[in-house]
Symmetry: C2
Subunit: 410 residues, 2 copies
């Protein structure tokens, strides 16, 4: 029988970094009953077997699951093979091709291997929803569908939008959230976790459990993590992600490049530190030291403490070397407009300059990098487009980890 | 191998009295292929096992099925036991309680026994949709639902209205039309018949057959028959119906009470006469004779030629006796307002008079009967409320089969 911690202690640990908990009082009751009975809570997560390549954004919810494990509860990975095997039968979408049982198993294995970097594999229950959805049968589906109305389903944001934009919604698409909700019934889930974008589907589970005479699961959503730019959701396609399989030095360097503000958010969402510990760090440490600590901690999670130490040393050496003028490439940039520029002195447009000296692919790429606060001139982050200069000049320009000495030729 | 008539002859016979055929050219092609191949068409009708007590309104579609039988085709009675056994799982509606297999069989037997008064029992195929809908299973239902969109389904008039009135539509209700449509796929129906109110559901069958790579069924709708009042749809609850199990004399008398206009409609929808024959009757017969002929014909259909002859004689004797003054009850009605009524003579309100002389239960009942053209004064149908009278007077007032001599006392 597991040793559970006091309810308030569990609750504080679980609440850290959660976007929303529906509802906290129910969660408290469940934790109390679990403590009294010695029975762990059943904490469900739906696994998407089509995207097995994880980045740190995906780990936010996995880490929250780990917190439940840390508190002695049972994590259930629900693999949606029933719908996965059917795929999207409309054939309209290329994003949901039907997968074979083998493909699904393979994707699930890949996913779980990565999830095991965070979670304790011995305390995970893995279930496939074909186990009960296949059995549901014709009558079961009719009865299930009877428990929800068209209007309730069209309240889901994406359905609502498509309906009003007169874009087709096939009837089976309304059945998929029911399937996901029914999974919670079959699993007798106490808690279900998901990103904030999953809220509607998680709530369907609550409704269906109630309709089946079960206590409703608590819904806990985790925020969508911002990427390295600090603005957009972390995503491979936006090129602002840190993959959990990336090399230690790459991972370390990328983490060192985030803003101070993002650093504290990453502390909250990507570590097991309690809020009180994070507050202490924030007040007592220099931001640069705190950032190094974060980067080392995260690299250690996905590689090892040793690898993290090595990465930190390599990064420091490289950074120092990069900043050393004799190692920096010198370029002369033709910028004839500068002669006629300011009234009270000269100025260049920073985006143009970056594009011309090869630190950005184009002016618009340069402009994006400036907005992302990724550009430093003579050690200072620059966010304005107009850069006053004295002629003749030589600037030390840094974009991410690329650095140039830039001489401007009028 | 059945002997089929030429396509145009079949088509003319089938078209008579149909409200709509979608589409006539497809029906022509199907008839042609059937003629060429010697293969009868498969003509489907969905049977509602909850309302087994038939009146003439229900026979319109049955008679149209008979016309297909007359032309050598196969009639399929589809008994919706799958949905009938589930009933309405929301529990919201009392109109669709779940029925046991025994109740459904019993209702279907009662229904078919009545349908056999019109159709040839040896050329009816009886099928239960649980045969394939049970088998469809979880995956089958998802695939079926994928073939229709939410918007298409909400185009159905009653769904559309409920959706816009914000009255709940449970998701399973959207699945029922799919089930009905899939029946056509399973049966490989060539034609499906139904009332005009069934048009949407019948069209779903067309769509689903197409989606399953089958030729689409032709949809043939039959009009909703007006009742004895000539205005509202025939319905037991509106008290304007003729049940097919009613006694010969009752049936005969009710048929004799319809207006001349309705008589021709009944000829079209309730007999096997061809349009050309009906036109001939209309031009060559006295309406009263034509009506007697219709009444006798219909009574003969549901009873026997002998019973019809007997009913016609009994009715004539009773009618004559009713119209004989010495057999009519005389009442004196106090109507003091009449003294002060018209400027150019006297007048009474006919509805008041009917209520006071006992030929109507109330003034509003009387007014309804006048609107239904059921009131005759001195042999003439009266539709206006104001009845000019000369005092002293005695009127022969007839409401349906009740008759009084009415003296007015000022």
């Amino acid at each position: 029988m597991p040793q559970f911690r006091p309810v308030d202690e569990q609750l504080a640990y679980i609440k850290k970094g959660a976007a929303e908990i529906i509802r906290v009082d129910e969660l408290r009751d469940k934790l109390k009953r679990s403590l009294d009975s010695g029975k762990p809570l059943r904490v469900k997560i739906g696994l998407d077997p089509t995207a097995p390549d994880l980045h740190l954004g995906h780990t936010v919810v996995l880490r929250k699951l780990k917190h439940f494990q840390d508190m002695g509860h049972t994590v259930i990975f629900l693999i949606g093979d029933f719908t996965g095997m059917i795929g999207d039968p409309t054939g309209r979408s290329v994003t949901r091709p039907p997968l074979s049982r083998e493909q699904i198993n393979q994707n699930a294995t890949t996913y779980l291997a990565q999830a095991h970097k965070i979670l304790d594999p011995s305390r995970i229950e893995i279930r496939y929803n074909s186990e009960w959805l296949d059995k549901l049968g014709s009558e079961g589906w009719i009865r299930l569908a009877a428990k929800y109305t068209v209007s309730q389903m069209l309240e889901r944001e994406d359905f609502h939008k498509r309906f009003h934009d007169e874009k087709p919604i096939a009837l089976h698409e309304l059945l998929y959230p029911l399937a996901q909700g029914y999974d919670s019934v079959a699993l007798e889930a106490d808690v279900e976790l998901g990103g904030t974008d999953q809220k509607f589907n998680l709530l369907v589970g609550r409704e269906l459990q109630r309709a089946h005479g079960q206590p409703s699961q608590v819904v806990l959503t985790t925020p969508l993590l911002e990427g390295l730019d600090g603005v957009q959701k972390m995503s491979k396609s936006l090129n602002n992600a840190i993959g959990i399989l990336e090399k230690p030095l790459d991972m370390y360097g990328k983490l060192m490049s985030v803003s101070d503000e993002m650093m504290w958010r990453y502390y909250e969402l990507l570590t097991d530190l309690q809020l009180s510990e994070i507050e202490k760090l924030r007040h007592e440490s220099h931001p640069m030291e705190a950032k190094k600590h974060l980067a080392r901690r995260i690299v250690a999670d996905f590689h090892s403490a040793e690898a993290a130490k090595q990465a930190s040393e390599d990064w420091a050496r490289q950074f120092q070397k990069d900043e050393t003028p004799e190692n920096v490439e010198r370029v002369v940039v033709a910028y004839p407009e500068v002669a006629a520029s300011g009234r009270d002195g000269h100025a260049v447009k920073l985006d143009k300059l970056l594009a011309r000296c090869g630190l950005a692919d184009s002016v618009s790429d340069a402009s994006r990098k400036i907005k992302q606060k990724a550009v430093r001139v003579d050690g200072e982050v620059k966010t304005e487009l107009i850069l006053p200069v004295q002629l003749p000049t030589e600037l030390l320009v840094r974009v991410g980890r690329n650095i140039r000495k830039v001489a401007i030729a009028a």
